[in-house]
Symmetry: C2
Subunit: 223 residues, 2 copies
DNA sequence: AAGATTATGTAACCTTTGTTACAGCGTATC
DNA sequence: GATACGCTGTAACAAAGGTTACATAATCTT
């Protein structure tokens, strides 16, 4: 009886979470369908949702938290592309071609994150059936294109010191915390450079009183 | 009478061109609709189709030729993003939000190019009405995302000499000509670097017998 | 043909970024 | 508390790319 009640509560919560995050976007019928075929998942921080080369079987709809999308080259060198937040989905997963598609990116939970996974098969059905889903997919694609453009701007037009400042500010925004739990090496991976370069630039930012450096922690002062 | 005949021939050609480039994608009814509302345009090489900040009023469907898509930063520094070819469209234009959208990119004809311009208003109508159009839009978005990924790979993971080699090879492929009519300065703009750097690297490629340098012309030997 | 314009070649130098090496500190583990 | 390990700081050097300056060559203009 207690178990039964908690199951009902759980389901109730999922549909509530969906309504909160997507209710303003989707019709009631679509929310109901998502609730039926989707699986709710709670992802702990730093968990890898998908690796490069893995087959994409479902589309993630973000309820809360944040997901970091990374690109990697043949030598294993990384680069942070962008973050996904509530109401976002991964445009890379939206490709519903006949054959299976392999992921071009790695997705890692940046925070504890709640998502609803929808089987990729529903894509085609829903894009015909629900105008709101169609618009959502178009909008997602468009947002992702804009974020890729921003990433290109960053790496093409900005120098490493500017990129680092932007990175720190983005992190503060995503985590909603001025104290970033992060090592210099981790930043170096995300920006595709070396730890020494990051330490050097961070130290100069500290001298400018923009940040304060601690072990495993960076305090962002100016924002 | 001669004029009347040539008009008929012209219209006939447009629908034929559409059928050749898009017939395998679109239903006959959609081809007919495109033919009715679209305007056929012949764009001469180097003509700018759209500037950054201009309002997007129509979607270009490429019939033949090639279009170069460029990004620019606040200081006017350029960067080549990718090329569009037959059967492609500009994903940046596909955003049919309520308000007008400003272009984030510049589009320049790389070759003499034929396109059909479709009013942006048709987007919403056709995505509901034609499954093939929907798929085309999704596929375009996906292709453009993949090209942006490739661009990011280039600028993030490759050094200038490798980027230059890739650039030359891409040019040969697009123009279908081993003799590239181009100056060092133009290459420098596309790759967002300086003319001196390009001259230096080109000279070293020439010493490696990969290219032969002439005035306003680069002969690509190894391919 | 003379002069102007544009394209290319190259040297010298500077800045940014990447690499190697090592020291010192904080924390966890035994 | 001794030891090991991970994180940070920094120096010294190397490499890539950007800048300035100038010479020369090809082409266009008049």
């Amino acid at each position: 009886m207690g178990l039964f009640l908690s199951l009902i509560l759980k389901l109730y919560n999922v549909i509530e979470e969906l309504k909160t995050s997507y209710g303003y976007l989707f019709e009631k019928e679509l929310i109901d369908e998502i609730n039926q075929v989707g699986t709710f998942k709670e992802i702990p921080q730093d968990f890898t949702l998908i690796e490069i080369g893995e087959y994409i079987k479902s589309i993630p709809l973000l309820i809360s938290g944040a997901i970091k999308i990374l690109r990697e080259d043949n030598d294993g060198d990384e680069l942070l592309l962008y973050f996904l937040e509530r109401g976002d989905t991964c445009a890379m997963s939206l490709n519903y071609s006949l054959g299976q598609t392999q992921s071009e990116i790695r997705a890692v939970a940046e925070l504890d994150t709640k998502i609803v996974m929808v089987p990729i098969q529903k894509m085609e059905e829903w894009t015909g059936k629900y105008k709101s889903w169609r618009n959502f997919v178009f909008k997602s694609y468009h947002n992702r294109l804009m974020e890729m453009l921003e990433t290109i701007d960053n790496i093409a037009f900005m120098k490493m010191d500017e990129r680092l400042v932007k990175y720190l500010h983005d992190k503060v925004e995503i985590t909603k915390n001025h104290n970033l739990q992060i090592t210099h090496q981790e930043i170096a991976y995300d920006l595709h450079t070396s730890r020494v370069v990051i330490s050097r630039l961070l130290k100069s930012l500290e001298k400018l009183k923009k940040i304060k450096l601690h072990r495993n922690n960076i305090e962002v002062l100016s924002f």
